[in-house]
């Protein structure tokens, strides 16, 4: 055990020796890894931020049916029964004009604005919920049909835009998966190539070491250490890059959100995301290193 620790300590020192002998190429390689890892990480955080906002929006398509002010209680009842029987609808809720006024007063936050009104200007309304999987076309057909019903003034199709946003997020997620796979492959290739170059520059050392009794493990260890170091440091640097980009962008994004009356800011990577990033980059770098080492060490006997 002690011997094993010593061998690994020696390998660690040899790794540092390699970095000290070629600091610039090690640094450049680290930057390439960091930038490659920063792309999916940043994109992931962007999507997570957007989803945080959009996730709060209602997903089921809603239709608001506003009735004429002249509507009679009989007409309301007939319509209600008609709507409740409709299988295309998941929910039917009636909001009378009095209730609507109360709701409005509550959301405006004071009676002052409405106190001056002698009459309630709001119409009676139905809020209909369609099934989540209803197609936009069927909803538009429903909207037309309801507009033609007696006593109905206007039918508004709500939350179609929310659905579109959600679909956009789904596209974004698909894109993220593609970016992840491509950059994972890139990371493996980058590390593999870096290790290949290291093996070439250290081929004299490898040859001599093998001749005087080095095991394959002894030869392999510094390269594995190098890859692991690049993975961890590259992952950390990627987090730093994303953090920097977020700090740079956030004021502009917040200002944009405010202009829409929304609270929105880009998410920060929490410690779990950082850990996952480090683990993934390290594993990919190790994979690249082991492929390169396995392939290029066969030429030494």
């Amino acid at each position: 055990m002690k011997h094993w620790i010593r061998l690994n300590w020696i390998a660690f020192q040899r790794t540092l020796g390699g970095i000290v002998r070629a600091p610039l190429s090690s640094l450049l390689n680290l930057l390439v890894i960091a930038i490659a890892a920063a792309f999916p990480l940043g994109f992931y955080l962007l999507i997570a931020s957007a989803q945080g906002v959009i996730g709060k929006l209602p997903v089921e398509p809603q239709l608001s049916v506003y009735l004429r002010t002249s509507v009679t209680a009989d007409e309301i009842n007939t319509l209600k029964q008609h709507l409740q029987a409709d299988t295309r609808l998941a929910g039917v809720r009636f909001i009378g004009k009095d209730e609507a006024l109360k709701q409005m007063q509550a959301s405006v936050g004071g009676g002052d604005l409405l106190a001056g009104l002698t009459d309630n200007p709001l119409p009676d309304a139905f809020v209909l919920t369609a099934h989540t999987d209803a197609s936009p076309e069927s909803l538009e057909a429903l909207q037309k049909e309801l507009t033609a019903s007696s006593g109905v003034d206007q039918v508004q199709l709500d939350s179609a835009w929310a659905r579109r946003l959600q679909q956009l997020i789904a596209v974004g997620k698909g894109l993220l998966q593609i970016i992840l796979v491509l950059l994972a492959v890139a990371l493996v290739l980058i590390t593999g190539n870096a290790i290949r170059l290291q093996i070439l520059t250290r081929r004299d050392e490898i040859e001599v070491a093998k001749l005087i009794g080095a095991t394959n493990a002894f030869i392999r260890r510094p390269f594995v250490y190098f890859a692991a170091m690049q993975g961890v440091l590259g992952g950390l640097l990627a987090c730093a890059i994303v953090w920097g980009a977020r700090t740079w962008l956030n004021p502009a994004v917040e200002a944009l959100a405010r202009s829409y009356g929304q609270q929105f800011s880009l998410a920060l990577a929490d410690w779990r995301v950082v850990v996952v990033t480090l683990v993934v980059t390290t594993l990919l770098c190790l994979l690249g290193a082991s492929l390169a080492v396995g392939r290029h060490l066969r030429q030494f006997h």
């Binding site: 010593r6 020696i10 040899r14 004299d204 050392e205 093998k210 001749l211 009794g213 080095a214 006997h301």
Partner: protein, 217 residues
Amino acid sequence: MIQFQQVTKRYPGGFDAVKQLSFEIQDGELVFLAGHSGAGKSTLLKLIAGIERPTQGAVLVNGQNLARMRRASMPYTRRHIGLIFQDHKILYDRSVFENVRLPLDIIGFDHREAKRRVQAALDKVGLSGKDALNPVSLSGGEQQRLCIARAVVHRPSILLADEPTANLDRDYANDILELFKSFHQVGVTLVISAHDETLMADYGRRILRLKNGQFSA
């Protein structure tokens, strides 16, 4: 003990570097290997070190047949052998000290013990005080001494030297041979190859003469 039994080494292309060789070298013996270049001296040394495997026959080193040894066990066998290469194989990207320490790193010596041994080996070959230098700044003779220090630093029981006196003037070559004699005196088995037999004659040891891969009189 080193024992060759009917050893033939055929290189790809059909050239037999060593043909049907049989001989024995006792523990602690100092043997010279003579012959022109291309006679098979280097191949013979490589067969003892397990760098080349025989095409036919058995190579026994300390009772183990290298011809049948698993590749994974070979590194541990090589650690009993010190090698001085014809082309030196010095690493010019590190100091004299780090060159000599390489065999100890491979075995896994602890830092302090390794430092002590490297200093002792450099002392022995007369390079003390030059440990921090880059090997490029050493003379040809000093580079040869550096190779010897690296070959003996882990105290191997067998020392193989391929043309250690080539390209050295007479006095310097004698110094090197004296150095080998001192290893012989402490019980190391030595096999030294050279194409110049006049040097060996002074030492009155056994000489194996090779010609076209076979012993000649």
